[in-house]
């Protein structure tokens, strides 16, 4: 539930209530959060403190000019993680370590990333540069980045010989350079020096999440300590807003002036952050970020591995969660088609306890679902074994970081040349994500041949009711449904021949 409250009063009526707030450890110096209210984003807060290195280019997570580094947990160590400061509430940083471009180095003592960017012409107007520097520094410090003088073929040049993954910069836009010098700067980076203070910090765990309750400017920000407390808080206030990565919520706050009386930060709730691979099922915590899931699964679910690089950008994936992706109920979310094809279940926890719902039954209408107002999505369950043949087709204008106009996920099993199992998830072609049931039925039991595919493709083209908008015409959307199965088939054939 979103609620645009009367904004009159604004900052002038700010009242500082609630307990003391843990300061942020900002560039190594404690910085109090006293002047932030629940709807102040981290970027505005940083800038109000005179740290104007991080810039606002869009206020919606698209440009990365606001990128800063936060030290996030990684097992019992930690990792410098680049995030969009424009999206997250400043208050959600309480007690954490934050580094901005100003904290990485100074003009007289440039950080290695800054040095490479400067000498290689990585900045022209310089407005995007502090953000690029932070995103690049995060990848510089990634502990499993290893030099690979001959990156794998078919890699499209998206990894440097130093192991740098270009996708780390997929959420940063530059209007001036054309990117080549920025790539060259990234690929020229060495490993951090032995005495690098930032690298050393990654050996330490992050400070524990602190219970927080702040009321200011007519709204409340709460960081509950347990799932039970979160469910209770949600039940109490019908218009309360759960905030996980805030990659969706933050956009609404900035662009649509969305305001909620209560924000409940669930991003660090242990109950929502498990990842277990069992014999029967893989359970994925709803508040794990997509980056964490990607690392944690390490290719264990190939269809998800195909999804991640196409989902937003690294910056966004460092915040975005599956709970949030389902929580928005958007018909163009990218995880639902994939999770539908994986025949996943959604685990919901409310005041009346826990229940599991097949994702196929979860959505009931445009941005509507079976989730009760007091329920929190706690996990996703993916049943095993997985279908062996999968694909995720995302149709969008831009390859990196764009919203789908159509998304199709396939999970198919073929035994003795006959389709034995088929699950197809669709996004962007109806008011909700949906399973292409008629097409699945047409496939199962049929021989896996070009003829079958051709007939089934026509069936698939008739599923859903695609609309026209600024992203794509309805004709194109329908055409993309029609070509997705033949494309999948062609890829399948190619892989078989290669094998």
């Amino acid at each position: 539930m979103r609620n645009t409250i009367d904004e009159r009063g604004g900052d002038t009526a700010r009242q500082l209530e609630g307990g003391p707030r843990m300061p942020v450890n900002l560039n190594g110096v404690p910085a109090p959060l006293d002047d932030a209210d629940p709807h102040t984003n981290a970027l505005d807060w940083l800038r109000s403190r005179g740290l104007t290195g991080a810039k606002e280019g869009c206020a919606e997570g698209e440009c990365g000019a606001c990128s800063v580094l936060v030290r996030r947990p990684s097992g019992n160590r930690s990792t410098w993680t680049a995030i969009n400061a424009c999206l997250i509430p400043a208050l959600s940083l309480d007690g954490q370590d934050v580094v901005t471009s100003e904290g990485l180095g100074t003009p007289d003592d440039l950080h290695p990333v800054q040095q490479e960017m400067a000498v290689r012409g990585g900045s022209q107007c310089g407005y995007c540069t502090p953000g690029f520097v932070c995103s690049m520094a995060a990848e510089y410090y990634r502990e499993d980045r290893h030099a690979d003088p001959a990156p794998a073929a078919g890699d499209d040049g998206e990894h440097g010989p130093n192991g740098f993954d270009l996708h780390a910069l997929s959420g940063n836009l530059c209007r001036c350079t054309g990117y080549r010098p920025i790539r060259d700067a990234a690929y020229a980076l060495d490993s951090p020096a032995a005495d690098d203070e930032f690298a050393a910090r990654q050996a330490e765990p992050t400070p524990p999440a602190v219970a927080t309750r702040v009321t200011a400017a007519g709204a409340e920000f709460v960081r509950p300590q347990s799932l039970g407390e979160a469910v209770k808080l949600l039940g109490e206030t019908p218009d309360a807003q759960l905030v996980a990565g805030a990659t969706d919520w933050g956009v609404s706050v900035n662009l649509m002036r969305a305001r909620a009386p209560r924000l409940i930060a669930i991003d660090r709730l242990a109950e929502l952050r498990g990842l277990t691979v069992g014999d029967q099922v893989v359970t994925i915590g709803a508040a794990l970020t997509l980056s964490e899931i990607e690392r944690g699964l390490d290719g264990r679910i190939p269809l998800l591995a195909k999804l991640f690089p196409q989902f937003a950008s690294r910056l966004i994936r460092n915040g975005a969660t599956l709970g949030g992706n389902l929580g928005t109920g958007s018909p163009i979310g990218d995880s639902p088609p994939v999770l539908l094809a994986l025949e996943a279940e959604v685990v919901l926890t409310g005041q009346n306890g826990e229940r599991a719902v097949p994702l196929a039954d979860y959505f009931t209408g445009y941005r509507q679902s079976v989730r009760a107002a007091d329920e929190i999505i706690t996990a996703l369950r993916v049943p095993l074994p997985l279908a062996p043949h999968t694909a995720f087709h995302k149709i969008a204008k831009r390859r990196f970081d764009d919203i789908s106009s159509v998304a199709v996920a396939f999970a198919i099993d073929i035994e003795d040349g006959v389709v034995s199992r088929a699950a197809i998830g669709l996004g962007g072609v109806a008011a909700t994500p949906l399973r292409a049931r008629t097409t699945e039925a047409a496939l199962v039991g049929a021989p896996w041949t070009a003829e079958t595919v051709q007939t089934a493709a026509r069936t698939l083209a008739a599923e859903g009711t695609p609309m026209a908008d600024h992203r794509a015409s309805s004709d194109y959307r329908r055409a993309m449904l029609a070509t997705s199965l033949p494309k999948f088939f062609a890829q399948f054939e190619q892989e078989e021949t290669a094998r």
């Binding site: 904004e7 698209e62 040095q115 022209q124 836009l173 990117y179």
Partner: protein, 813 residues
């Protein structure tokens, strides 16, 4: 070799050095206008009340609720304007309008203690509107006969005779979209009232002098009462040439009325919905080829979609006319131009300034006609390139046409085009679902403002007693590396190390009456002026040194801060010693520099003359791969050979070429301005008004294999240290991307398939192009073998008379 172009020994120009502010950029220390707000006390924030209608009379304005909103200090309306209620030089842009002309038009502005409060206050302003019919598309405007400004015609030869002599003729229609600048830094102004009522405005502006002028006329002040400063911009691309003025004026008005500093920053949504963009164009055309596939005639009427006010549409149109033939010789030409008046943002300058739009027409024609002529598109283009000293349709000889041929040849070699074409053919033979293609396109772009008067620049160079040098010039820095080049020019001209020279922020109280930093002319004009000032100083210092060494001043050498003399055995002097001596001898250590581009003449009424100092040339080859299932594509490799003269700063120039290319590719393939053309209440609304819906090139659009070479032996006689302007021309090299996509789509059809391709060529557009190729339908907007006459202007069509030309005429110049 001219004095202007000659380089001394071991010059600092030509060295590949990083951007002058790079270490500030990377550490977040570089300040932009909005960063200054934190350093200013008691700032008020401004927020507009925007029209929800594309066209409506404003019949009532009630401010009570807004003024009662906590934090709101004042609402600015037309009644508050002491001077002229207008934001432009054409006096057709009321600052506070009584008629809303587009969705997003600012009706009035709220000032408040916080941004939150200003927004809340703006929401509380009640405006009554009486909606009027709105023209949203260029076609609607054409149908309604809604035009503004001049309707020039550029003509050469005998058009009818050309068509009569032709072997093959075609005609068609082509409409293409504009482009949002999307400078990463949105518009921003911070105004305050200084000592003795001096108005001080910090503005993200490419044209401080004009910002100053408009602020002064809105406030009813003289120019000397207003100072405008621009530290740097986070990108401009033409979008900050005209558009900052009104915003700066609002901030300045607020500051004078409240006595407090006023910050006006457009957030991205405001910026995209309020400010002008690259013009979309419409063109009706017919073209004729001879039996050798040479162009013999082009007859076209092009209509720029100007939006609600004139802004820079006339000069943009003039440049489109002057670039319609790109690099191709066409003996018989008629181009009619006109500017549609529509209910959209007022479209404005954007890198290339009409040049890209003009070239789009001919490149589209060649791309579509080549298969129908049965000739390879690259061969068709090559065959029609200008030969040395052939004249453009407006009568300027293309003196360096050989450079086009040289660049083409160099690229063919270095790009290994022959081998790659064979590889591509093999790939296409063995792949039915994916196709590749390689296209090569040239650029010839005229350098100088079309309007002669703008081709002047000024500088002020100061040497302090300790030997340090401070330079001021009229140009602004927006990432193009102008300041870097100016430091190099000054260090070269004075003979000192780069570290001796520092650059002061661009301010109107240092150098007056400057031209916009635009038309790629920044380095030419300001470089000429800086060089001129430095040479005056150097000459004075040489005289001082000559006395010391007992030689003639012309025998004094100043190099890398060491002063010596030919034919003298005396120890060299240090630069600082020389400066000290000069000071004690009471020699003036500051100089004002000035430069005007010689040899230009232009009759804008007749559209004839030599408006350009020279042309910049370049050639690009792009290879793409297209997916037949979806229309999605990848740029595989780009090779460019570009003519920057003798580069002042190679790292900067290569950056401009690469950045311009990718920005051009964005316009041609990805970036899509979608306006609501329906009859819903949201008619006229920009639907792609955010970064999430208006997609800029990102890393995925960077050519993974990107090879840029500067044309060798390219010294330019008529420009500072032999260099050439570089800001705009490379953008147009990106036509090679669109043409490669067209050719790749054609590979899905039978050989000789002509393919219509929408612009921008998004994956969807490419998909439809593939579908068309598969069916062989080359588009019902193309007529083969017959022609239709493009609409001709009425006999009384208004001529081109740029405002300042009229002023010049009045002044008897």
């Amino acid at each position: 070799m001219s004095n202007l172009s000659q380089r001394p020994a071991n010059p600092v120009v030509g060295q590949a050095i990083p951007h002058e502010a790079a270490s500030l950029h990377v550490t977040g220390r570089a300040l932009y206008t909005d960063d200054l707000v934190q350093r200013t006390r008691d700032v008020l924030h401004a927020w507009p009340v925007q029209s929800p209608h594309a066209h409506a009379h404003v019949t009532g304005l009630r401010l009570d609720d807004a003024l009662a909103t906590p934090g709101v200090v004042r609402v600015l309306t037309a009644d508050d304007v002491p001077g002229v209620n207008d934001a432009g030089v054409k006096h057709d842009e009321p600052l506070f309008p009584t008629e809303a002309m587009y969705v997003g038009h600012a009706i009035c502005w709220v000032l408040a203690e916080t941004l939150e409060a200003a927004r809340a206050g703006a929401a509380a302003v009640e405006v009554d509107y009486a909606p009027l019919p709105a023209l949203v598309t260029v076609r609607e405007a054409i149908a309604a006969g809604s035009f503004q400004g001049a309707q020039p015609t550029l003509e050469r030869g005998d058009i009818e005779a050309g068509f009569d002599s032709a072997t093959m003729v075609f005609s068609g229609e082509f409409e293409f979209k504009g482009q949002e600048h999307f400078y990463l830094e949105t518009h921003c102004a911070l105004a305050l009232v200084d000592e003795n009522q001096q108005i001080f405005v910090q503005s993200s502006t490419q044209h401080p002098s004009e910002t100053q002028e408009i602020v002064a006329h809105v406030l009813g002040l003289a120019s000397h009462e207003v100072t405008v400063q621009c530290l740097r911009m986070g990108g401009g691309f033409g979008g900050k040439e005209m558009q900052p003025h009104g915003l700066a004026a609002i901030a300045a008005l607020g500051a004078t009325l409240t006595g407090r500093p006023v910050r006006l920053r457009l957030n991205r949504t405001l910026d995209m919905t309020m400010t002008g963009k690259r013009h979309g164009f419409h063109s009706d055309w017919r073209v004729a080829f001879d039996d050798d596939n040479r162009l013999v005639a082009l007859d076209t009427t092009i209509t720029a979609d100007g939006g609600w006010s004139l802004d820079l549409s006339e000069p943009v149109l003039a440049r489109a006319l002057c670039h319609i033939e790109n690099s191709y010789y066409i003996p018989n030409v008629r181009v009619n131009g006109r500017i549609a008046k529509s209910n959209k943002t007022s479209q404005t300058a954007f890198r290339g300034f009409g040049g890209p739009q003009g070239m789009a027409v001919i490149e589209d024609i060649l791309g579509r006609c080549a298969p129908l002529l049965g000739i390879d598109a690259a061969e068709l283009r090559h065959r029609n390139l200008y030969q040395k000293d052939q004249e453009t349709p407006y009568g300027q000889p293309v003196e360096q046409a050989d450079r086009l041929h040289r660049a083409w040849g160099q690229l063919t070699e270095s790009g290994d085009l022959e081998r790659r074409r064979a590889e591509i053919a093999e790939f296409n033979r063995t792949h039915s679902d994916r196709k590749r293609a390689l296209a090569i396109t040239p650029v010839k772009f005229g350098i100088s403002f079309n309007l002669t008067a703008f081709n002047q620049g000024g500088a002020l160079v100061l040497i302090y007693k300790d030997g340090s040098v401070l330079i001021n010039h009229g140009g602004t820095e927006m990432g193009q590396g102008l300041h870097t080049k100016m430091l190099q020019v000054a260090a070269t001209a004075l003979g000192v190390p780069l570290s001796t020279v520092r650059l002061a922020p661009t301010r109107t109280d240092k150098v007056p009456n400057t031209s916009a930093t635009a038309a790629s002319s920044g380095a030419d004009l300001n470089g000429g002026a800086v060089k001129n000032a430095c040479e005056q100083l150097r000459e004075r210092l040489a005289t001082v040194a000559s006395q010391h060494f007992g030689v003639h001043p012309s025998d004094v050498r100043i190099e890398a801060g060491r002063v010596s003399a030919i034919g003298s055995n005396a120890d060299p002097l240090a630069w600082t010693d020389l400066v000290q001596r000069a000071y004690f001898q009471r020699v003036q250590l500051s100089a004002a520099g000035y430069y005007r581009t010689e040899g230009l003449h232009w009759d804008s009424a007749a559209m004839r003359g030599c408006p350009f100092k020279y042309f910049a040339h370049g050639v690009a080859a792009t290879e793409v791969e297209v997916d037949g299932f979806t229309g999605a594509y990848r740029t595989r490799r780009v090779d460019i050979v570009h003519d920057v003269g003798d580069s002042l700063s190679p790292l900067v120039d290569i950056g401009q070429i690469e950045g311009g290319f990718v920005q051009g590719a964005g316009w041609l393939t990805l970036e899509e301005l979608v306006w609501d053309e329906s009859d819903r209440p949201t008619r006229g609304r920009l639907q792609t008004q955010a970064a999430s819906t208006y997609k800029l090139p990102s890393f995925s659009e960077m050519p993974p294999d990107f090879r840029v070479a500067l044309l060798e032996q390219a010294e330019e006689e008529g420009a500072v240290y032999g260099s050439k302007a570089v800001g705009e021309p490379p953008l147009m090299l990106a036509f090679s991307v669109r043409e490669a996509l067209r050719q790749a789509a054609a590979e899905f059809g039978r050989p000789g398939t002509s393919v219509p391709l929408a612009m921008p060529a998004t994956p969807e557009a490419v998909f439809w192009a593939i579908e068309a190729a598969r069916t062989g339908a080359f588009g019902d907007d193309l007529l083969v073998g017959e022609t239709t006459l493009p609409p001709q202007p009425p006999a009384d069509a208004p001529h081109m008379h740029p405002e300042s030309e009229r002023l010049a005429a009045d002044a008897g110049v």
